[in-house]
Amino acid sequence: MLVCTAAVAHAASVDSVAAGRRLYLEGLGQGGNPIVATVQGDVAVTGATAACVGCHKRSGLGVSEGGQRALAVTGPALFGSDTSRVGNLTRSRTAYTDATLARAISQGIAADGQILDPLMPRYRLNAEDMRALIAFLHRLGAEPAPGVNENELELATIVSAEAPPGEREAVTTVLRRFVEMKNGGTRQEEKRAAASRRHAYGEKHVRAFRKWKLSVWTLDGPASGWPAQLEARYGGRPPFAIISGATGPDWPVVHEFCERHELPCILPVTDLPAESAAGNYTVYLSAGVRLDARITARSITKGYDDVDGRILLLYVDDQRGRAAQRAFLEAWLEARRGSLTMRAIDPGSTPTYKDWKDVIHRERPDVLVAWLLPPQLQSLTSIASSAGTLPRRIYTAASFTDWSSIHALPIFEQRVLHVYPYSLGAAGLSPFPREEAWLRSQELADLERIPAVEALFACHAIGEAMADMADNYSRDYLIETLEHMLDGTAMTTIFPVTTLGTGQRFLAKGAYVVKLAPGQGTARYLNSGWIQP
């Protein structure tokens, strides 16, 4: 009899928890009605604007912003006997009961009778919605996150043979070395922390020093087979988060996988992120080829006086080329300046001088956009020998072209405008001095530079975030911490401007348009304007 009642109660609470979760995340009560509340004493808020998640966040661990602090509302924080062990945003008070919690939510009176700040809305919920919400809050943050135990933090990175070998090698080598170094350092920190255990904060710090354990997941075969491989790896041993990664143009498959498991995926090396930025769990360096495309379109349609000429877009007919072409077309249609012709170039072919000359003669473009494979672009530069027909401006982009490996006549190079999102070092100086110093000290200076710097940044980002999170190992809290921490971060100079915020998923939002100068490496790139589409 007793057993039977318990089973029924449990079944009811599963539904209830789901309803409470929806209320918390979307501000919708049962039956889909927007909830209503009053904030700041007399301001009505409803639905999504009143949803708890805005202030208390998905993790429930709260947030501190501009002098305002929304406290932690996880199960352990509210109902636990020792709030000092939960989160950075708790105050000491007696534990909540369901009844005092309902009072806090509807009247703003805390468990210890304190009046809550009027920024905490006072909710008018019916009994059923209140029950569901409280059932959900009991569960929020109550389970330990996967991939963490007393001693270890499990991280994984994901690579595939579709990624260029240099990129894969840079990512895995940097990650492995960083983890090795960090775990070495952690032993030192453990000793220090143990020595200072008597101090008030000692214990919290001890708990924060978990060893990192890194797995490298190598995906085989075509991307259609990846989901099964990812599930198998994950099921065997779920990591806390995915760190960096390099799988080539099929990263969206990994993106979907991470969303499915609410698995944070931090700063993968890809220029083809999932198309819809919708999703909570992957934080990208930039929108990759789509950012290049939007910036190119913006420069062409707004950047010059003679914007009404003929535009010819040559793009390699692969996933990246097509994604760039679609993003360009969309941006161009909005502005609709000049006339646009587009040509897909088979990735398996390298057109000859004559092929290119025919195209150029037929289309007579004023502006040429060339998003091609390196040999294709190299062959395109041969049109320089028939200078009379050269376009006035020739756009290339960092996702497709590295000008240190392309050689062209000055008459061609003078027309090039190259879209480049990374920092440009001041004359003769490295744009990434700290990262390069580390790579040199590790004798890893031969790794492909940009992916190595990007992977190192992913390590630093997760390391700093973990330190900030203290012992709150929540996947959502990792994302929330990074959303704040990476905004304007001084952690890396990889991009000249990095910004992030709640729900923002691309760190770099603009790029330089550079001209080519004689010289070597990025010293060839001369800033000729910054564009933020």
């Binding site: 305002q68 602090r69 915020g501």
Partner: protein, 182 residues
Amino acid sequence: MSAQTSAAVDEHAAHREMAAAPSYRVSRAEYAVPDIVLTDEQGQVVDLHTLLSGDRPVAVNFIFTSCTTICPVMTATMLQLQRELVKEPAKPMFVSISIDPDYDSATMLSAYAKRFGADWTFLTGERADVLKVLQAFSAWRGSKNNHAAITLFRSVGADHWTRVEGLASARQLAEIWKKNVS
């Protein structure tokens, strides 16, 4: 947990409905509105100086669309303030300036305004320009996550502004407006 705790407290704070400590402060300030061109939520170019120097008293605040904590509250408060002020002889002009121009395009601002049913002007612009505006109004705290709740009122032709720092109720703001703005 207020932005100001022991700082000068406005008399209206006594009207707070809850017994919590007053959480805003009212002061008078002069700002040199910079000569800068911004973009509104329709994508139209707007000269800030001209916009603010029209024949209507103005209320300005600072928000960003990916702020889920105090910005929605500030926007909802403005909306309610608008209703509180319908009977005022001089129709107020409301302006919200984004402090996250890197992310807040005109399109983002327009969607944000629609979500709240806010019919006033939302501004964004080049990062450097927006920063100048924020600095001119002492509204920049080094990072958008460190933003302060600031509402500014100015009468037509006045050379000073009424500055409300911190969060207030709509009725408190309406009282401050009625007392200081014409």
